[in-house]
Every structure is written in C-alpha cells, then in structure tokens.
Amino acid sequence: MVYYLPSDWSRLFLIVHLMVSVFAIGAATHHWWLVIHRGSSLVRLYRFAIWMAFGYSLALLLGILIYPSYNVLVRKPPLGVLENSASWAVGLFEIKEHLGSIALAMLPWLILSARYYEQLGRLQRVSYMAATWLFTVFVYYVFISGALVTTIKTF
C-alpha cells in the first residue's frame, strides 16, 4: 500500500520544501565559497558544512514526503499528465532524484573533510575541493530542475 498527500497538503509541503531548499542552497554556496578561497576561517567552513548538511537533509526529507503525490497527481496517468505532455521534464526530474540521492551520500565525506581540513593531505584537499564543486553543482541542478518542473505542472 502506498499513501500520498492530497493536493492541498502537497502544495503546503511544496512551499515549505522550497523555503528549506533556499536555505540549503545558501549554505551550500557559502561552503563552496569558503573552500575555493584559501585562508578562510576553518571554524566557519565546518559551521557551514554542518548547516549545509542539516538544510539539505531537511529539504530532501520534505521532498520525500511529497514525492508520492507528485507521482500520482502530477506525473503518472490517470490523474497526472506530465508523463504524456512533457516527458522531457519527467526525465530532468528523474535525473534530479538521482543526483539528489548521491549528494545526500556525499555529506559525511564533506563534513569530515571540513572538520579535519588542517590535517588533510594534498590529495585529500584536491579531492575535497572537487567533491565540493560536484556537490554544489548537484544542489543547483536539483533546485533549478525542481523549480522548472513545478512551473510546468504542479499540484
């Protein structure tokens, strides 16, 4: 048995999801900025890594709550129309879900690297920087593609 929220509840959760996502993208951008600028405060780096992880996880959790409603009411027939009318948007959304899941699994690595940044070797710092770039790109893609699909069809 699968449950989903009715459209008015889904709309409410979608708005909260959007607000938390803005917070998460802000924290991720600050974290990225601190990583690419040498000489930044390590305390701030760790703090923003924690805020980023908190905000992103919360945004993802809220997204999980409305995902079944999206499937039933927006995407799949008979109630949903998106799959028939704009399958490319469904494709973008599916890619967003994959990248969002990978970004979630990247968080422990990013937090630990920020926490022990001073002790990282050269290779680990390069890897951390690449991971930060990748994570930030993922988060921006997730945000933009989610907003795009919402503007095409929503609850």
Binding site: V2, Y3, I64, L65, G91, I95, W109, L112
Partner: protein
C-alpha cells in the same frame, strides 16, 4: 582522521555501487516507512514503485557497511580509495543520467 575520511569515501563508493545495481537489475524496493502512518487517500490504479527512496535506503545501508570497512583500512589506502571513488562516481553519474535521458528525454 584519515581513517574516518577513508571510511566516508569507501561508504560513498559502496553507496554508488549499490544504488546503481538497484537500477541496473530493476530491483526497485517499494517500502516507504516515512509515510506508513500518514494516511490520506488510497492511491488510484497501479501501485507506485518508489524507486528512489527504496534504492537510496538500500544504498545507505550498504554505504554504512562500507564506512565500517573503511575504518579498518590503513591510512596509506587513501589514494587508492579516492581513485576508486572518482572512477565509480564518473561511471555512476554517466549511467544514471544516460538511463533517464534515453528513457524520457531522447525517446
């Protein structure tokens, strides 16, 4: 320090492999524990395969196993683990993006 980062790197590698295998073999777990007690409306028509949440949960469990294994590896394993991770990340992202692009965007 190195060991905890090695553990996180190996955990992420395990996650990526398990997550992709769920999709490759069509194993789409259909459990949805978060919504078990939030009942609003019964779903119309066919059952929905909640593939992302299920596959991600499988990936996280396997990733946690990878994390525990990584804690036991020596510090000098770090370069090999990072190389393995980036190879896996490239392969996983390519596979997952192409999979959805071919199915929905370029069909």
């Amino acid at each position: 320090m190195n060991r905890s980062i090695n553990a996180a790197v190996l955990g992420l590698t395990f996650f990526l492999i398990a997550y992709c295998l769920c999709f490759w073999f069509g194993v789409m777990p259909k459990f949805y524990p978060l919504l078990g007690e939030v009942h609003f409306v019964p779903p119309p028509g066919t059952q929905i395969a909640v593939k992302f949440v299920g596959s991600a949960l499988v990936g996280l469990v396997v990733g946690f196993v990878g994390f525990l294994v990584g804690l036991r590896l020596p510090d000098k394993a770090s370069p090999a683990l990072h190389a393995l991770l980036w190879l896996t990340m490239t392969g996983a992202c390519t596979y997952l993006i192409l999979r959805e692009a071919l199915e929905y965007i370029w069909k």
